[in-house]
Symmetry: C2
Subunit: 216 residues, 2 copies
Amino acid sequence: MDIAIPLFDRFTALDAIGPYETLSRLPGARVTFLAAEPGPVQTDNRMLSIVAERALSDLTHPDILVVPGGIGTRAMMNDTQLVDWVRTAHETTQWTCSVCTGSLVLGAAGLLDGLEATTHWMAMDALASTGARPTGRRVVEQGKIITAAGVSSGIDMGLTLAAHIAGDKIAQAIQLGIEYDPQPPFDSGSPEKAPAEVVEICRGVEALIDAGQAVA
Amino acid sequence: MDIAIPLFDRFTALDAIGPYETLSRLPGARVTFLAAEPGPVQTDNRMLSIVAERALSDLTHPDILVVPGGIGTRAMMNDTQLVDWVRTAHETTQWTCSVCTGSLVLGAAGLLDGLEATTHWMAMDALASTGARPTGRRVVEQGKIITAAGVSSGIDMGLTLAAHIAGDKIAQAIQLGIEYDPQPPFDSGSPEKAPAEVVEICRGVEALIDAGQAVA
């Protein structure tokens, strides 16, 4: 079972690693990180590089496709090579998935037209612009397409997909293997739950990124 | 604020990426991945390489040290270079942290003697052998040492530490930024919560790894 995770400049690491850490534990899973060219790919904040082992052109028919997000997706929506590769791969995938703003790339490939989908809470308008119908649910399934919300939601998505592929017991064993018994010290993980002041801090950082004055 | 995350052969990716994704968002944070030598370091399942930008000897006095775990920690407990580096770094850190079996390396460096600490639920005996007093809590603070439970717990630990460093509002903004509003499809993230059959699946995989018949 080939699981392909395409990387690109300024992706967000946890978007990719959440699905990797869950799905790689499925029996028979082989996860491959890809990019336009093999080699290290830098994350959004430039503090980390993850190695793309193979080129996109080396693996065109994965069984499962997971597109991570990150500030880099804004450029990737217009990257013909990646968008075309996603569109072609989707024709033969068993599952096509995204985390965070990875859904913008699925949308740019025309895969979400008229479908419910999700993304990072600050990117809902951008998602709507691709023809998708944005929803606030954390993991959104539409046939073989699964989109997940911001960054950390890829763990929940990975476990959901693991259950579809291998059954509840294996998915539960993967959850136990990664000891995913979340106990965040705060309850501020969504804009509905976070204090207004905290939402504004996030929007302020986003504005700095838009203005090129912050890196991620 | 220098945050050092040492990598080693067969570490677990999410152990490192959870703290990275949270702590890198602190104002003034600079996260550096290190290894014995700079270059790509393979994870436990050999499906992923993360780049160590610098050698351990290049950064000996980080402000924050986070040691990830993984099956590779069993060898690292006897790796004089890493253990000595951890012991020396700890002398001047503001915070010394571990995720999962990373605490075994802290223990091997003599940092946990007599202290409460935690690790992956399947490694509690190994942790006790270092002189620590294992507890089942998810994030365990003892002075400037913070140990976290298995794999995914590094996200909770990262947010807890972020609050200590920059205050609750910034930590909450980081939680919102990574949309950490966990909604796992099952409640099997700890051995107390998972069905007995699921616990046995995990123990069976562990036995295969011990016998060299499975990779992670």
